[in-house]
């Protein structure tokens, strides 16, 4: 057992016992990763804020019944993903939420003012990620960005190991294609602006 695993095991024991220090430590350790996952899934800060709350509430309520061998991060990602799926289902029934969900899915990419600070490449990468299908995006975010083991990621997504690898491979190709398009568009705009400026 690695040191990280032992630490996680201690946290799970603490959560089962009702130790609030364990909860604080788990929250501090995993909140940014869960939030990053939710933000990249939904593309919106307000949605990610709400789902973050729901995710941690669900963990807190389930804490007394956690199994001893629970691994916290995959469990948190599973809860977060279920919350996101549930949110998406309700969005379909609620027209106002659906409209707002489809309209501005761009809280992840830096705003134009912040774009100068972040590298243009990072902005393009974040935009391309947002344009992927939900299936492709969640697989890439879990494995490539959050660094989850592929076996754990497959469990979080409720698919087999082989299916995950296929999905990753497709997602990677799709991401590359989107990035190429976005970068080409980015090159065309300044060129057009320059032409406009000279005439």
């Amino acid at each position: 057992m690695t040191r990280a695993d032992a630490d996680d095991h201690g946290l799970v024991q603490g959560l089962r016992r009702g130790d609030s220090v364990a909860l604080e430590r788990a929250y501090a350790k995993y909140r940014p990763r869960v939030y990053g996952f939710l933000l990249r899934l939904s593309g919106r800060r307000d949605v990610a804020d709400d789902l973050l709350q729901e995710t941690w509430l669900k963990l807190a309520r389930a804490a007394p019944d956690l199994r001893e061998d629970t691994t916290l991060l995959p469990l948190l990602f599973t809860i977060a993903r279920n919350q996101f799926i549930s949110f998406r289902r309700w969005s379909v029934l609620d027209v106002t939420r659906l409209l707002s969900f489809g309209a501005e899915n761009d809280d992840v990419a830096p705003s134009p003012e912040r774009e100068s600070e972040a590298s243009a490449r990072v902005a393009v990468l974040e935009r391309a990620l947002q344009q992927l299908s939900a299936d492709a995006r969640e697989a890439l975010v879990l494995v490539a960005i959050e660094g989850l083991e592929q076996e754990d990621a497959a469990k979080v997504l409720g698919i087999g190991y082989a299916a995950l690898r296929q999905r990753l491979s497709r997602a990677r190709a799709e991401l590359e294609e989107r990035m190429t398009k976005l970068e080409a568009r980015g090159r065309r705009v300044p060129a057009a602006a320059a032409r406009g400026g000279t005439t």
């Binding site: 909860l23 909140r31 804020d49 389930a62 990468l125 469990k155 690898r165």
Partner: protein
């Protein structure tokens, strides 16, 4: 509740490793993805979620600690199937005895 949140997988038994691993391939795009900046909630949101979580955590442990509540939960879970089994048994007994009375001998 537990069933709701536990990770689901359809084929845990299969873990083939012979095909090339797309995510392990250390190409530039995956390196860039790994290097994307971490995103975190605003401080006020993080604090609000932390407080809500701590309250729910305490409530969950208080509820699970009370023997009376545990007994109540157990009874509530066992009651519906017992009612169904009881109803079906009474109906079957009635149906058999009625059939016997009508067509017996």
């Amino acid at each position: 509740m537990k069933r709701d949140i536990e990770p689901k997988s359809r084929d845990h038994a299969r873990t083939p490793r012979e095909t090339p691993d797309p995510a392990a391939a250390d190409d530039a795009l995956l390196r860039e993805l790994r290097a994307l900046p971490a995103r975190d909630a605003d401080a006020d949101v993080a604090e609000r979620v932390r407080r809500g979580t701590a309250d729910a955590f305490d409530a969950a442990h208080d509820a699970s600690g009370s023997a009376w509540r545990r007994m109540l939960g157990l009874t509530a879970r066992a009651l519906p199937p017992l009612v169904v089994v009881g109803t079906v048994s009474i109906y079957l007994a009635w149906a058999v005895s009625t059939a016997n009375a009508l067509f017996g001998q």
